[in-house]
């Protein structure tokens, strides 16, 4: 029975199937609302799903110069590690595999899919991918600094008995006692910083310097086609889910109604709202950053916001 429940967790909710479906839903909502913000009708919400299945049916071309194993394995490694990461994040009090990873671990686990894209692209042997690799890495360097500052600020805010924490459970529990951290004025700069980090982490416009399709032919993805590309696109969607779920857990956790399924639904609604606010809105109003602007922006403005939060949490 135990094993069966775990299997359901892994494969259906919140694992493979749910992460896929919800990720595609978030991506669809993102595209639809982006279109509406631009006064367009926009694609149907199912559009990312169509894209995914269409790509599955396409031919997969492996460049003759590629390091084939890395090239083909990278998307799958990225996808699977993302799905596993999704299991560690509490969704409205539901923790499929609690106590196995904390915020810092998730910070690092989220690097695996980015690495998968980087090494996959690098293995394709394309110079566009080379430039994309360089840019993707700069964007990783950019967002890690504010992200760790945010995590430290939240960890300090969730301190219990003088002990700071990285533990997601403790963060959730403390929020149940004190109310969501988003309502804590000291953490609002951190929340804003986190909202800006999410699109960069996901690789969404305007921070998608690594995959700028108009400049460097989608960077690391330039040589991918067919199923591996579909898997990368799916990973992108699941990343949206994980990052918004992480935001929800860090800043909007602890909203309890007493019923688990209702909590989960509320959390998922929060995820959708966070997607719209952090990704769709920034996409609609900002043009793509240049690489060095991105780095500067994240290491000064965004990190500054997170640092202000950390100092406030520490001393106030």
């Amino acid at each position: 029975m135990e094993i069966l429940i775990k299997a359901v967790y892994i494969l259906i909710f919140p694992g493979l199937l749910f992460a896929t479906v919800f990720g595609l839903w978030l991506a669809g909502i993102d595209r639809k609302l982006l279109a509406r913000m631009q006064k367009r009708v926009g694609p149907p919400v199912l559009q990312p799903t169509y894209d995914f299945f269409k790509l599955l049916g396409k031919e997969t071309i492996i460049p003759a110069n590629a390091a084939k194993v890395t090239f083909l394995a990278a998307p799958y490694v990225g996808l699977i590690s993302l799905v596993v990461t999704a299991l560690f994040i509490p969704i409205g009090g539901l923790q499929a595999f609690g106590g196995m990873a904390d915020t810092v671990v998730i910070l690092y686990l989220m690097a695996i899919p980015s690495l998968a894209i980087i090494f996959g692209g690098s293995a394709s042997g394309s110079p566009f991918a080379g430039v994309g690799v360089s840019r993707s890495m700069v964007s990783i360097m950019s967002y890690e600094l504010p992200l760790i500052l945010v995590l430290l600020a939240v960890g300090r805010a969730a301190a219990y008995g003088g002990y700071t924490t990285f533990s997601l459970e403790q963060i959730t529990v403390i929020q149940q006692l004190t109310g969501p951290f988003l309502l804590d004025w000291r953490l609002i700069p951190a929340a804003v910083a986190m909202l800006l980090v999410i699109p960069c982490e996901v690789g969404a416009h305007p921070f998608d310097v690594g995959e700028a399709e108009t400049e460097i032919c989608e960077g690391p993805l330039v040589e991918y086609s067919g199923a591996p590309l579909a898997v990368f696109k799916l990973s992108h969607c699941i990343k949206m889910f994980i990052m918004t779920a992480l935001f929800t857990a860090l800043f909007l956790g602890g909203v309890t109604t007493g019923m688990l399924w209702l909590d989960v639904i509320i959390a998922l609604v929060f995820c959708t709202i966070v997607t719209v606010v952090s990704m769709t809105l920034t996409h609609a109003v900002m043009a793509r950053f240049r690489v060095e602007q991105l780095f500067k922006f994240f290491w000064t403005v965004v990190s500054g916001l997170a640092l202000v939060s950390l100092i406030l949490v520490w001393y106030v």
Partner: protein, 638 residues
């Protein structure tokens, strides 16, 4: 304490290496004989130390071996002692593993260099010297072994005498290394003058009563001396030259082992002898040095154009992690530092061996000239990836676990002391980790992936005898990453306990009750607490990974018929997309990467590369300045 046969093992391990060194010379040009002797020596040392795990690590015994049976007389330790507690054995094992892997690797590797018997003689001397330092219980003996080790290392650095860089690096190494050695010697002399003994245990017991300005000076000198041996900031430029110029199999030793003796020395001096780590000022100082080493070296590494120099700078960066973690003086911090020490030896050894493999196959380690080798050397590329993921702290490899412990330790320390500074140390650690990742992506992109220059069309995978040691190290990297519980229970935990348990160390050498009679403080922490403030379970992660992998695999099998075809052929359809142009050689190599980052930090990076002028005089000046600053700092705050 029963007098078991394993009491002799430490001295035998050291002797095996030294005797091996002399026998190798006698074997002359007979290659097979030479290999057998060298292999046997390192294997004997490794086996002997492995046999000590049970009594020392598990049962918690401390082995004291008096050379020539010169036991203490009238409470004064006159004879030379070997004293092996869990900490010594920890470093000893680490040394033995790295030495063994590298030795087997060099059988094939060193053939290219018109091998003379000198290589293995020096190699085994270096190994024996390191082993002597970590197993010794005598301060002067440590100095002697330090000198043996340093000169062997200098010799090995200059081993490729046809290479002017190697000769220059050896010279720099010699000069700056002598600063460290003389500091240690002077410190030892001062300690001897004050305590009238050279036995570590007894010094440790006597120092609290004799803490005067002379001893403060002695501490500063010893600290700087061992710091120099660990290449901490600002002694790091020598490391870059030496690691880069030495044959890779030697770089493994210099980076993975030699630097660890410095760390070992710092632990012994500051935790054991002077027990200064209880002071906030000393903690701050060590953490500061660690952070500076970490950050400066990682940014220097990002700027390098040579695979091995890049790795060399990373060595110091990782030493920075270890020092930072040790400077926290909490059980978790020490455990994290020690864990990182063993991980660093493993993954840096692995990386240096892959760099050696690249050099062996292509004849260069210059990043701009290489590219696309993963197609020709798939196993080396896989090994490199394991090493790169380990050092950049990608779960579930080993670097992540120790770094994670360090983050926890620093953040916990921050909340304990209420100082936000330690939280910023966590930030520096994470940023360094990301920059580490960046520089290994740079290596990956410019050596193993991307496009391959035509001249490497005939490159072959390295021979099996070179790959096996690399695979062993890779397996150990994975093992230490996914089984941290075993490591912590059987290796790290006892070693951490040993760091904090100096009364036990004293008693083991000087007889029961000696410590209680002479010193009043009984240690930093009564009970080492290894509780973490977060959670990470690599085994479960792997299990989940496998389950999801199976699910994805199943789905892809089920959908196989409806999927598009997978095609690869050497025609223009499958050529790399070049905006429609015919495929051509266009490789984005190391110098072109990370422009956005370099552009923003150009002031800092420019200053740094100017500062690393490559002039020996400058580096000596840095070293002497560091010594002066450390002495002043010690006088001011101790």
């Amino acid at each position: 304490m029963t007098y078991d046969v394993y009491m002799h093992f430490p001295v035998l391990a050291i002797m095996a290496l030294f005797v091996g060194a002399f026998l190798v010379t006698l074997s002359g040009k007979r290659e097979v004989l030479r290999n057998i002797i060298a292999g046997a020596a390192v294997l004997i040392a490794l086996t002997l130390l492995a046999l000590l795990i049970k009594p020392v690590m598990v049962d918690g015994e401390i082995i004291t071996y008096w050379m020539g049976n010169w036991e203490p007389v009238n409470g004064y330790a006159i004879g030379i002692a070997l004293e092996v507690d869990a900490l010594s054995l920890f470093f000893g094992l680490l040394v033995a593993i790295a030495v063994a892997c590298s030795c087997f690797y060099s059988f094939q590797y060193i053939r290219q260099d018109d091998a003379r018997g000198g290589y293995f003689t020096l190699y085994l001397m270096l190994a024996g010297g390191v082993m002597g330092i970590v197993l010794s219980g005598d301060l002067f003996n440590i100095y002697v072994m330090l000198e043996v080790m340093t000169f062997a290392a200098v010799g090995l650095t200059a081993f490729r005498t046809w290479n002017p860089n190697a000769r220059e690096a050896a010279f720099k190494y010699l000069v700056v290394g002598s600063i460290g050695s003389s500091c240690v010697l002077l410190g030892t002399a001062l300690v001897y003058a004050q305590c009238h003994t050279l036995n570590l245990a007894q010094i440790s017991a006597l120092i609290p009563g004799r803490m005067n300005p002379t001893m403060v000076l002695a501490f500063a000198l010893l600290f700087t001396g061992f710091g120099c041996k660990s290449f901490m900031f600002p002694f790091h430029p020598i490391a870059a030259d030496a690691h880069g110029a030495a044959p890779s199999s030697v770089s493994v030793l210099i980076s993975g082992v030699f630097t660890k003796t410095g760390v070992y020395g710092i632990i012994r001096v500051s935790y054991f002898l002077f027990r200064s780590m209880g002071l906030t000022s000393m903690q701050t100082g060590l953490v500061f040095i660690g952070c500076v080493s970490m950050f400066v070296c990682v940014t220097m590494a990002l700027n390098q154009h040579d695979f091995k120099r890049l790795l060399a700078f990373h060595s110091i960066s990782q030493i920075g992690y270890i020092l930072t973690s040790l400077g926290l003086c909490t059980a978790l911090g020490i455990a994290g530092g020690l864990y990182h020490a063993i991980n660093h030896t493993l993954f840096k050894g692995l990386l240096f061996l892959t760099a050696g493999a690249v050099l062996y196959a292509t004849g260069t380690t210059y990043l701009e000239k290489l590219g696309g080798l993963a197609r020709k050397m798939p196993q080396t590329a896989a090994l490199f990836l394991i090493g790169a993921f380990s050092i950049s702290g990608i779960p579930p490899f080993n670097g992540f676990y120790s770094k994670w412990m360090i983050y926890q330790a620093t953040f916990e320390k921050a909340s304990e002391t209420g100082s936000i500074g330690y939280a910023l140390v966590t930030v520096v650690c994470v940023v360094t980790s990301v920059l580490t990742l960046a520089s290994f992506i740079k290596v990956g992109q410019s050596v193993f992936f991307g496009q391959m220059p035509l001249e490497y069309e005939n490159v072959k995978e390295t021979p099996l005898s070179m790959r096996i040691p690399m695979w062993i190290m890779a397996a150990l990297c994975v093992f230490t990453g996914v089984a941290p519980n075993i490591m912590i229970n059987y290796v790290i935990g006892p070693a951490t306990g040993a760091v904090l348990n100096f009364p036990g160390y004293i008693d083991a050498a000087m007889g029961e009750g000696y410590a209680a009679a002479t010193i009043t403080d009984t240690g930093y922490l009564a009970e080492p607490r290894l509780l973490t403030i977060g959670a990470w379970n690599p085994v479960n992660w792997l299990l989940l990974f496998v389950v999801v992998l199976a699910a994805v695999f199943l789905v892809s099998i089920l959908g196989k018929r409806d999927r598009g075809e997978v095609n690869c052929a050497p025609d223009s359809k499958h050529a790399v997309f070049f905006g429609g142009e015919e495929s051509q050689y266009s490789h984005v190599a190391s110098g072109d990467l990370f422009w956005g980052f370099k552009h923003n930090l150009r002031g800092y990076l420019g200053f740094m590369s100017k500062a690393h002028s490559g002039v020996t005089n400058d580096y000596v000046l840095w070293g002497v300045t560091a010594l002066a600053v450390i002495i002043l700092y010690c006088f001011a705050f101790m």
